[in-house]
Amino acid sequence: MTTEAEQLAHFEARIARGEKIEPGDWMPAEYRRQLIRMISQHAHSEVVGMLPEGQWITSAPSLRRKMVLIAKVQDEAGHGQYLYHAAETLGATREEMLEALLTGKAKYSSVFNYPTLTWADVAMIGWLVDGAAIKNQTMLAHASYGPYSRAMVRICAEETFHHKQGKEMIVHYATQGTSAQRAMAQDALNRWWWPSLMMFGPHDSASSNSEVLIRWGIKTKTNDELRQEFVDEMAEEFRAINLVIPDPALRYDAATGHWVHGPIDWDEFWRVVRGHGPCNAERLAARRQAHEDGLWVRQAMAGYAAQRVATAD
């Protein structure tokens, strides 16, 4: 007879050895709960993340840019599928996860509740938003839960192109573009910088889940550590192309070797998370519409499959 304490010790020892926990293996109920919460939110973010960029597919400035954007949005749909799969291995069903998204009960990344006003927003989302996502996802590729780790490895391999195509565009507009293109790039940076920093989540002091997630090897870095890596990298990048990060307090601290950013508006963050951002209602309405519009297709195909089984018998 194994006690729960012994099972927990065995589980934590496995994680310490770098083994992956797989479906079927013993895991604490809290590990399962935290993973379902994180992975389903992550899946919803991929799905909702298609909307702000998808709006620009018909307005892409060239055929090549259009093909690239279609491929990127298609990838986000695929990434949602990989992640829903990982959550399903923990016992969550596709139906209940979609229900949670469509009823507004589920959370997804707050950054997708901001509007894409110009083409440069598509480029800036690729560089900043996907750049921030990749920081997080590269860490999660090391996660102790096998299915989550594998989804992240696959997503990271595909997502590097999202980041690169956005960076290519912004660098191009900022260094070789017309003054209008340059201004468009700066305007996009002005609007996307702070929402991108908020993507890493609340400060460590306000992040109730961090400790247990790190202890069980789901995350290996805190929100603030990842955010700092991102700020250090982006501060140098934007300086090199003479775009100005909209943070008057941003400064390099020679003592620590890090860039120090000004205060983040957490009131805004929580307002958007709680459903009151500029586009929350629009995003949910678009998802619901797509779900309702697809209902007859799902039913017709299920009906056709059932009929074929019946005639085969």
């Binding site: 797989e22 079927g24 400035p61 090549r64 695929g78 090391h142 096998g146 990048e237 056709y304």
Partner: protein, 185 residues
């Protein structure tokens, strides 16, 4: 029935002819045929793929090393008194703890009267590497992509070079200042 997300199918992808089929994830579909098409769209947006297999998730019998250790009697249990007719099972296993984007991979076949018996047999027959997870699937429950469809299903991904970060070269501010202007931008 008001709504459905369809049943779940697990997907196995073979990158090149010499490699084993590897579990890459799942899709939801109304039947095996649609599951194959969904698998192509979800898992073959980029090369390489030579062949796809799909099987209903509930056709898979899965057991981890930890589960086997927790019930050692299970390993030596005699087969059920009146064994049903035997059938062929595909055997998949996970032998590595390295970070990867694939899970169990195909290692061979066994003929057995039940999934449990198939695992027992696999433990002897494929004892070549420490194994963390076993999957056995009745061969009859697996649908395979048709070799004749291979060109139309898998080769279009080869031409979409813009799906790879390498298509964008080395992007640095300095390089951009020197480089030629891109008239398409």
């Amino acid at each position: 029935m008001n709504d459905t997300q369809w049943p779940r199918f697990e997907v196995f992808k073979q990158d090149t002819p010499g490699k084993p089929h590897q579990a890459v994830g799942s899709v939801h579909a109304p039947d095996l045929e649609m599951a194959l098409l969904m698998a192509r769209d979800v898992f073959v947006r980029r090369p390489r793929c030579h062949s796809l297999w799909v099987t209903p998730a509930d056709a898979i019998f899965s057991i981890t090393q930890e589960e086997l250790e927790a019930q050692p009697a299970w390993l030596t249990a005699p087969p059920a008194a009146a064994p049903a007719a035997t059938e062929t099972y595909l055997v998949f296993r996970k032998t590595s703890q390295r970070r990867a984007m694939t899970f169990v991979e195909h290692v061979g076949e066994v003929v057995a009267a039940s999934p449990q018996a198939a695992v027992q047999q696999a433990l002897t027959q494929f004892a070549t590497a420490p194994t963390w997870v076993w999957w056995v699937v009745p061969a009859g429950a697996v649908a395979q992509s048709d070799a004749e469809d291979s060109a139309s299903w898998f080769e279009p991904a080869d031409d979409k070079t813009y799906r790879h970060q390498s298509a964008y070269g080395f992007v640095s501010p300095r390089r951009q200042r020197r480089g030629p202007a891109d008239p398409a931008s």
